[in-house]
Symmetry: C2
Subunit: 262 residues, 2 copies
């Protein structure tokens, strides 16, 4: 039962021309720490206030530390405003200590149909269960966020890995709040590590996350395809694709994370 | 006939604890502007001097402007040093005007075999021609860089697009200089836009480029698979995978660029 909305937990309050206050929700956490996509989205909310363009097109985050729930500060530097894009630096700090560093390119998303697309399968995956799926991390990691979002997998994670390194999910925000370009940044990080479909491990911390928003999403739940690609040397790279309820690809991203096997 | 080495053109000279001078080569340009991966690699050279870790693991660049060949300044901020990684901000400026903004995560690359890999085809593509391939951009764009690097495609670009949005190449640095983790960042941006295999257009400027380095490359030419994924709304996202001469996946990355059709 969700107690929050994404709009509320990712809201920012402007304090100065480039300074903002945020209040990181304890409900949007895994192991007591706010989700990384949620943090990136919150920074993007502040960037939009400062930029002359309305929509996030590209966002890159490097995670320095894992902040606590509670008050946080966001600082935005407008690096350049061009005709078609604004480029910004956004940082999230807690008690003055930098937690997340980001670079963002903002522009204006249009509504034209894609000119060309590669052969990535459309989200015909499913069917999904009638209820949100339980998570399958180590039992001692509290996953508060699973009481907020409605995340359903097309097969029970408890069945164990298939070895394909792929998780397919349906994701809705609390109260079926429509997605927007900013909450799509959260969608790119809402699914557990796709490595769970290869080898069960503990926490997979994200070093870097890059997201591209390709279109304004239609209302309704999104479909998420989250894939692991190479696990080795203590790290894994993952890709994530998000389609809206009309079947349109609206966002994609990549992550590099740390993973400890065995 | 190359007149340069990559080590020389990407070299930086330390001016202060966090300030560096670079000299951007007129030979490593397309349309008179330095290649974006070359710029990112040059910033990474400076980051390595400041960081306590030796290898680039992840680098994200947002391109604000397109600098001229000639002197440039690089500023590095060490954001955090942890046990396994250093995180830095790197900027390239010209006459004090910011040109490229980057975030970098550095660590130490190991030599273990990958634990698991998805089904991305190994670089069995080829055969490649006996000579470097001519580029196929608009005839009025001078491509100085093609006299420096040895880039060969497994089919002549002049044959026109296949519609697959895919370019497969063999890439060597001048004098067959061995690749290192930094020059792999260049390799991720060395191939022309994969959109050429869908629709011939002019210049495809890069807004954002993110690269992950996964292993130290063995000496010898690398194989590059560069793919376009969605063209629409004036933008395209591309992915790039790089394998070393032993067939090991050593780097991968994504780009978001601008494209004007028709």
């Amino acid at each position: 039962m969700s107690t929050t909305t994404f709009a509320a937990v990712s809201a920012v309050k402007q304090r100065s021309a480039t300074g903002f206050d945020a209040d990181l929700s304890a409900a949007w956490t895994i192991g007591g720490r706010p989700n990384g996509g949620y943090l990136l989205a919150t920074i993007a909310r502040a960037a939009i206030v400062v930029a002359e363009h309305p929509d996030v097109l590209a966002a890159s985050a490097h995670y320095l530390r894992s902040p606590e729930p509670g008050p946080a500060e966001i600082e935005i530097d407008l690096l350049r405003t061009g005709r078609s894009a604004s480029q910004l630096r956004g940082r999230l700090l807690q008690d003055g200590v930098p937690q997340v560093e980001t670079l963002l390119t903002l522009g204006t998303l249009g509504n034209a149909e894609p000119y060309w697309q590669d052969g990535l399968p459309k989200p015909e995956f499913g069917p999904f269960p009638d209820e949100p799926s339980p998570r399958a991390l180590a039992a001692d990691v509290p996953i508060a966020i699973q009481d907020e979002i409605d995340l359903r997998f097309d097969r029970p994670l408890a069945e164990g890995p298939t070895g394909r390194g792929e998780l397919r999910a349906r994701l809705a925000l609390p109260g079926d709040e429509p997605f927007d370009p900013v909450s799509l940044l959260f969608a790119l990080d809402a699914v557990p590590p796709a490595t769970l479909d290869v080898v069960p491990t503990g926490w997979v911390p994200t070093f870097e996350l890059t997201g591209y928003v390709r279109a304004r999403p239609a209302p309704g739940p999104v479909r998420v395809l989250h894939r692991a690609h190479l696990i080795g040397d203590g790290r894994v790279d993952e890709s994530c694709h998000v389609w809206d309820s009309t079947g349109r690809l609206v966002a994609n991203g990549t992550q590099l994370g740390g993973i400890r096997i065995g």
